[in-house]
Amino acid sequence: MDAALLAQVVLNGLMLGALYACIAAGFSLVWGVLNVIDMLHGSLIILAGYLTCSLWSEWHVHPFAALVPVGLVLGLAGAVLQFVLINRVVRQPVLTTLTLTFGLDMILYNVMNAVFDATPRRVTLDLGRLTFGDVVLPWDRIAAMIVALGLTALLYAVLRGSKLGRAIVAVRMDREAATLMGIRVPRIYALTFGLGAFMAGVCGALLAIVYPVTTNATGQLLGKAFIVCVVGGLGTVPGALAGGLALGVTESLGSHWFGPQAAALLGFALMLVLLVVRPTGLLGRKGYE
């Protein structure tokens, strides 16, 4: 394989990986802090994608302008969902919480299928492309990658620097101690789930720019979040970033050499191997089961 082709494949992988990192950052936050596997994450992304497409086709709202409003709508919905429903069972075993979020996901998935028809749709921006010799990079993908990386970095900054972020990290470390320090844990849980849903929302808006939006993709997106979380390690933003980029490049190379189905298989195989060899992930720390 010549160098230009290799560079093209790796760069495609990095552009895909940035989106995976952004998807997994929200999922990992919810899992790490609430100890809840958010089976809704894939459907939330697709819901945001549909909203973005509708805003574009009905009112000509530019997807980059729609990014934050769509994210806020989903974030608010997520926070309410957590506060009203999931908080009630949040301390129960994984079987209960996972089954509950799966049940909620079935409802959302079914409603989306009924409201939006299943034909894939996307926002076509056509911003031209950047070329270096034989390597061609479409500008819309580059922009989506930059925004995805920027949002992931922003989440990291919020968790490290803001009062809310410190409260979230405190709850993750020790719920009882955090309560004694005056942190209202149920409210932090709601805000954390809301933050996760916000991340899903912005990812959905970005997804609509670069890939067709269809409910068929919800399971695949959730699967990517699983893999990135396990590969990168749970509950850390840098872990999600490393895992996302690693998965993106692995899939891109795998797809180039063995075909797309084999590439999807490769991702899951990578995850199973890591689960056994290093259950805390590449950058993870022990202690968040």
């Binding site: 899992w31 100890n35 596997i37 429903l85 009630r88 069972v89 075993p93 994984v94 079987l95 209960t96 996972l98 089954t99 509950l100 799966f102 049940g103 909620l104 996901d105 079935m106 409802i107 998935y109 079914n110 409603v111 009924a114 399971g219 699967g223 699983f226 396990v230 189905q261 084999a262 999807a264 298989l265 899951f268 195989a269 995850m271 199973l272 689960l275 056994v276 259950p279 089961e289």
Partner: protein, 306 residues
């Protein structure tokens, strides 16, 4: 086990077995589905109910069993041989995959078990030389009229369910059942008092796969066509634990009760709203978790103590 467990189970078997004599083929079809899901729910109960491991691997073994059975049957073997072979393949696969995923606990085990479904589904669509890929596999229909076929598959499924039931009774009364309950409560403590946790978990996982394999193979022969997306259905992998939770996890009667209730509910109530099938199941799950956390049997127990 409560005193009325065995009479209720005997009555359940008798009612299902009597359906061909009292009703039409539609009723027999429902009875076959009840037996099919009861076999799957009883299987899940070994690992999920008794050992308390949140397994979502049911569809992996149902799918594997249906493909293994279909391939053996298409190679010319009698169908019963194909079903037994499918059960054997699933037992071996569960032993091999269990060695990987049973090292995990809690959330990681749940994710690992879902990954098994995804991986086997991807393999089935990828390895098209063997499995027919996305186009699926066709199986020969059985000779005989629709009445005969309906009866054959009813009694086959019922037979598998009864085998799973007998195994469940034997396990819950023996050392294995005791050990698995200890693991569910506190695995480290169980290990410390000398329960061979690794071996017991493996036994539970293999038991949870064997009957799924046989039931999956019988299902494939029944519908005479399988494809990756139906065989390895994520919906099925959640529906089966939900049935057990609905009945009462870790009990003998619970899985049977839950599977029967959900299939009947599905056929009578929400078969009329096909468009919203999935949403209604989702709503049932949400209601189950908030209003019926101990399942139907838990409800009976609560009423008695009250």
């Amino acid at each position: 086990m409560r005193a009325w467990t065995l009479p209720v189970l005997a009555a359940w078997i008798a009612v299902l077995a009597a359906t061909p004599f009292v009703g039409d083929n539609y009723l027999v079809k429902i009875a076959t589905f009840v037996a099919f899901y009861a076999a799957l729910a009883l299987s899940w109960n070994f690992i999920g109910g008794l050992a308390g491991y949140p397994s979502f691997a049911t569809a992996a073994f149902v799918g594997l069993g249906s493909y293994a059975g279909a391939l053996v049957q298409n190679a010319g073997a009698p169908i019963v041989v194909a079903w037994i072979a499918a059960a054997g393949v699933c037992a071996m696969a569960a032993a091999a995959l269990g060695a990987i995923v049973l090292r995990l606990r809690g959330h990681y085990f749940a994710i690992g078990s879902i990954a098994l479904v995804e991986i086997l589904s991807l393999v089935a669509s990828w390895w098209s030389g063997l499995t027919g890929g996305g186009e699926g596999l066709n199986l020969a229909f059985l000779p005989g009229g629709p009445d005969t076929i309906a009866r054959v598959f009813l009694y086959a499924m019922l037979g598998i369910a009864v085998l799973a039931l007998v195994t469940t009774v034997a396990v819950t009364r023996g050392r294995l059942g005791f050990g698995l309950r200890c693991i569910a409560q506190n695995e480290d403590a169980a290990e410390m008092v000398g329960i061979p946790t690794t071996r017991y978990k493996m036994a539970a996982f293999v038991l949870s796969a064997v009957f799924c394999g046989a039931a999956g193979a019988a299902y494939a022969s029944w519908v005479a066509y399988i494809a990756p997306s139906d065989a390895f259905s994520i919906l099925l992998t959640v529906k089966v634990p939900v049935m057990v939770l609905l009945g009462g996890a870790g009990t003998v009667l619970g899985p049977v009760l839950g599977a029967t209730a959900l299939v009947l509910l599905e056929e009578t109530v929400w078969a009329r709203f096909l468009e919203f099938h999935q949403a209604i199941l989702g709503a049932v799950i949400v209601a189950l978790i908030f209003f019926l956390p101990g399942g139907l049997l838990g409800l009976a127990a609560r009423r008695r103590t009250a």
